[in-house]
């Protein structure tokens, strides 16, 4: 293992996860999952992960539900949402309550994501 930041990215669209992995692997160690349940499994197996980025709308449980469960178990990790939806009241509230640190919108702005993660590291 190198000393890069370990990032877990959850999205139910494989194209999104594949591209994310290719683009961000040069800066972070990227692990991807296809939904919230998968995400919780990965987190259990990979305690070194310190940043979690999740899509919002996914089957089974949405991004915020997944993050709330994950944060309950791993409160020290940093959580973000990356979604195609405009910011909602629910997400605004979760930022105010510090459940997530920031909300990114699709199409992603690579620089924005990169800088945010480095800044908060």
């Amino acid at each position: 293992m190198n000393n890069k930041i370990n990032v877990l990215y959850i999205d139910d669209e494989p194209t999104n996860t594949e591209l994310f992995e290719i683009i961000f692997s040069s800066f972070f160690n990227v692990v991807t999952g296809m939904d919230g349940f998968n995400g919780l499994e990965i987190l259990e197996k990979n305690p070194e992960i310190n940043v979690v980025i999740s899509d919002m709308r996914m089957p089974g449980m949405n991004g915020l539900e997944f993050i709330k469960r994950a944060k309950n178990k791993y409160p020290d990790k940093r959580y973000y949402i990356l979604s195609g939806f405009i910011i909602t009241e629910e997400i605004r509230k979760s930022i105010e309550e510090k459940i997530i640190l920031k909300y990114f919108m699709k199409p992603f702005d690579i620089t924005e994501i990169k800088e945010t993660i480095f800044e908060n590291a």
């Binding site: 999104n16 683009i23 195609g84 939806f85 199409p107």
Partner: protein, 469 residues
């Protein structure tokens, strides 16, 4: 009394003149009768005279005597029945004078005998007062304690005078009648006046009630009008809220479906870019045009979707920090398809960042609507100038078009709900009423200035963000 003697004739004439003067001086019936009684007694140089007047039911009333009656004499004692006084009756019925030369030798009724005894009457003369072939009373002249022989001429003279005097009596009666009628009339007029006053008072009261009822109706009418306006406003707002809610749901869904594939493209672009940068390629310029085009396309789609999202956001918070320039640019991006080559857009924005506290979606609705109206107003070629400035605590945005303008007579109505100049089915007439309400929600003002064929200026004044802090 000697009719032929000249000095005697003058005396009689004098008495007659006195009687007539006295009668003229009064119009009172009793007084007239008294004057006649006294005058005739004087004329005939007789101590005792009396006048009976005939009432209905053949009743007699002793109306005057010489010497005069005691004024306290009860009326019942002055009444007598005609049948008990046959000599009076004879005079009345025959309408001719009657003569009793000596009461001692004449057959008298008990009632007549009583009076004769009371006054010691000796010779009696009865002169009926005749008026229009009817006897209205009798004058009785009588000597006391001695008899006197009345000759024919004297009796005839007395009757002539009596006939003249009955005219005076009749006049007095007529006058009394007239007076009674007048009094009756006055009484009647007074009563009617009182009734009329009462009626007028009642009418005034009714009128007052009507006025107050009218006031109530007027107020109710005004309340109903206000209620109707409120109802229309509420209806317009509901209409808009429903429209925006369904538009919001649609836009959010569409945005999500566009943003995900856009994310693929953005990711692939990034990957491609990194890949090509790492390789040694001769014609990098061409590739950079391709890649730049992809990047520009992504940005533009992303901005449009974002703009739509802002426009239709379902967030109802009124304390978002909203940049006016950002909002206007977004609106221009959304409405871009409606702006054809005939319309030139000029922007004169304030160099400062202008921030309004409010709801970003609602601000989008305001400017989108005003820009839409400006575009519609331009039928040929024209310009739309958008200016922004900060003045005191206001952020003022003007949208100035060179379109057809709004007629003066309707400019006051354009923000009324359901007001439209378009044909049925062409417009709801809600656009400006909703815009107006949205501006009010922001504690702002919406003003219009317009000149036919020259164009319209729509001015939006919104409080600056600091003012709310």
């Amino acid at each position: 009394m000697k009719l032929n003697a000249n000095p005697q004739g003058i005396r009689e004439l004098n008495i007659l003149i006195k009687i007539s003067q006295n009668i003229i001086s009064t119009l009172q019936y009793e007084k007239v009768l008294q004057i006649i009684s006294d005058g005739m007694a004087e004329l005939f140089e007789i101590e005792s005279a009396a006048i009976y007047t005939l009432e209905e039911n053949n009743e007699l009333i002793l109306s005057a005597t010489t010497p005069p009656l005691d004024p306290n004499m009860p009326e019942s004692l002055r009444r007598a029945l005609l049948e008990n006084h046959p000599h009076v009756r004879n005079a009345i019925e025959s309408k001719k004078p009657q003569h009793i030369p000596d009461t001692g030798k004449e057959k008298l009724s008990p009632s007549e005998q009583n009076i004769v005894d009371l006054r010691h009457l000796q010779s009696l003369l009865y002169f009926p007062f005749i008026q229009e072939e009817k006897s209205i009373g009798v004058l009785i002249l009588g000597t006391c304690n001695k008899t006197r022989n009345f000759n024919k001429e004297e009796i005839s003279f007395g009757q002539t005078i009596a006939n003249q005097l009955s005219v005076a009596i009749q006049n007095t009666l007529l006058h009394a009648d007239l007076k009674r009628h007048k009094e009756n009339l006055e009484k009647l007029v007074h009563e009617k006046t009182l009734e009329l006053d009462k009626t007028i008072d009642e009418l005034k009261k009714t009128n007052k009630e009507l006025i107050s009822k009218n006031d109530i109706i007027f107020n109710q009418n005004a309340e109903l009008k206000t209620a109707l306006i409120n109802l229309r406003n509420t209806q317009a707002q509901l209409f808009q809220a429903e429209k925006m809610a369904s538009l919001g749901t649609l836009t959010a869904g569409v945005a999500h479906e566009i943003n995900n594939p856009l994310n693929f493209i953005a990711g692939a672009y990034e990957g491609l870019n990194n890949y090509l940068n790492s390789k040694c390629i001769d014609d990098k310029n061409e590739f950079s045009v391709f890649l730049g085009s992809i990047e520009k396309g992504i940005k533009r789609i992303s901005n449009t979707v974002m703009g739509l999202n802002y426009f239709s956001s379902e967030n109802n918070s009124m304390d978002e920090k909203c940049q006016i320039h950002f909002v206007i640019e977004n609106c221009l991006a959304i409405i871009n398809s409606k702006i054809n080559e005939k319309i030139e857009i000029l922007k004169e924005f304030s160099p400062d960042e202008l921030i309004v506290k409010g709801n970003i979606s609602k601000l989008h609705q305001i400017f989108l609507n005003l820009l839409g109206n400006a575009i519609e107003a331009i039928t040929e070629k024209g310009k739309i100038k958008i200016t922004t400035e900060r003045k005191n605590n206001w952020i003022i945005t003007e949208i100035i078009d060179t379109g057809k303008g709004i007629p003066k007579n309707i400019i006051g109505n354009i923000t009324d709900p359901f007001f439209t100049t378009k044909e049925a089915g062409q417009g709801t007439g809600l656009g400006l009423s909703i815009t107006y309400n949205l501006v009010l929600e922001h504690n702002g003002k919406l003003e219009f200035e317009s000149e036919i064929t020259k164009g319209t200026t729509a001015r939006v004044l919104l409080p600056t963000f600091e003012k709310h802090e």
